[in-house]
């Protein structure tokens, strides 16, 4: 079983009030030096079977038609390999 991650973010030209709210709160929390914040969605899909090109293509379709609304959002699909997981976890 492998994990495929789909990240969905608002297109850059679309106002992201959630990201802005975070950014505006930063100085109050004593954080400086962050010039922009955008907030999006992360989907973690547990895929049965091998994640080959065909599987990725299908997930790409899924993201395009369903997980993201491409009128307003962009997305990326990536396979989360074991070492990335290790590096990333807190």
């Amino acid at each position: 079983m492998a994990r495929v991650v789909v990240d969905v973010m608002l297109k850059p030209e679309i106002l992201d009030p959630q990201g802005q709210a975070v950014q505006r709160a930063l100085p109050r929390l004593g954080f400086e030096g962050i010039s922009d914040v955008r907030q999006g969605k992360r989907f973690e899909l547990e895929v049965d079977g091998p994640v080959d090109d065909a599987a990725l293509a299908r997930i790409h379709d899924l993201a395009e038609s369903f997980l993201a609304n491409t009128v307003i959002e962009d997305f990326t699909v990536k396979v989360e390999s074991a070492d990335v997981v290790a590096e990333a976890s807190k």
Binding site: L10, E13, I14, L15, P17, Q18, A21, F66, L67, N69, V71, I72
Partner: protein, 226 residues
């Protein structure tokens, strides 16, 4: 003979019974439609009502758009069936690409419930003929994801073709571009808006105004006279 107007219930629909009541108050016959049925029971028009279909968990309207009933609604809307999308219904219509653009979370990040002033910009659609263009009305608004967005080209096109059907007046409650509260397709049979006309059909209830009733009398007249 009166008109039969279908109201679709999705899991999570909230205003289906209210919408049926509004249709009855206007003098038409409401017909309950179920999301798992492709069959529209030969209704003359369809309302996609407000609520949180499937919890609005992915995006408002995104999951409902793929229900069996929507396959038929999409086909028939393209063939001219009058369809009104209220709030969640509007969101479903944009997700189904029957109307352009998309709906996002309110710019202030909160749910908002208020008596909202609107201007009817297009009184030529199937659902607005009992208004006059430029008429100002008050309709309850209540939503989390009411911010209408579209790219510049789409907006210009909507404006140029007079397809912005309703605009917020005095106060933009959600950050919608061009103060858009509702739009229509080019043919004028598919209309979507965020405020809830079905909550403004009885003098005692809600805000105590009946400014929403003409939606339902408009379609009734159109269908009966057809």
């Amino acid at each position: 003979m009166t008109a039969r107007i279908g109201v679709v219930t999705f899991p999570g629909s909230l205003d289906d019974r209210d919408t049926q009541r509004a249709i009855r108050v206007a003098g038409a016959e409401p017909v309950a439609l179920w999301h798992k049925d492709k069959d529209l029971k030969q209704v003359d028009a369809v309302v996609l009502c407000g609520g949180f279909s499937y919890g609005d968990y992915l995006r408002a309207g995104a999951i409902a758009r793929f229900s069996p009933v929507m396959d038929t609604v999409i086909d028939q809307a393209k063939a001219g069936l009058p369809v009104l999308g209220i709030c969640n219904g509007f969101q479903i219509l944009t997700e189904a690409h029957l109307l352009p653009g998309g709906m996002l979370g309110n710019d202030h990040l909160h749910f908002i419930c208020r008596d909202q002033k609107l201007r009817v910009e297009n009184a030529g659609t199937a659902w607005t003929s009992d208004y006059t263009a430029g008429q100002e009305i008050h309709i309850p608004l209540k939503n989390m994801d009411g911010r209408y967005v579209a790219d510049r080209r789409t907006l210009d096109e909507l404006e140029a073709e007079g397809r912005v059907a309703f605009r917020y007046v005095d106060f933009n409650p959600n950050g919608s571009l061009n103060d858009i509260a509702g739009i229509t397709n080019a043919a004028g049979n598919v209309v979507g808006l965020m405020p809830h006309p079905e909550h403004a059909v009885e003098p005692l209830i809600g805000t105590g105004r009946t400014d929403g009733l003409p939606f339902f009398t408009s379609i009734l007249k159109k269908l009966v006279n057809a």
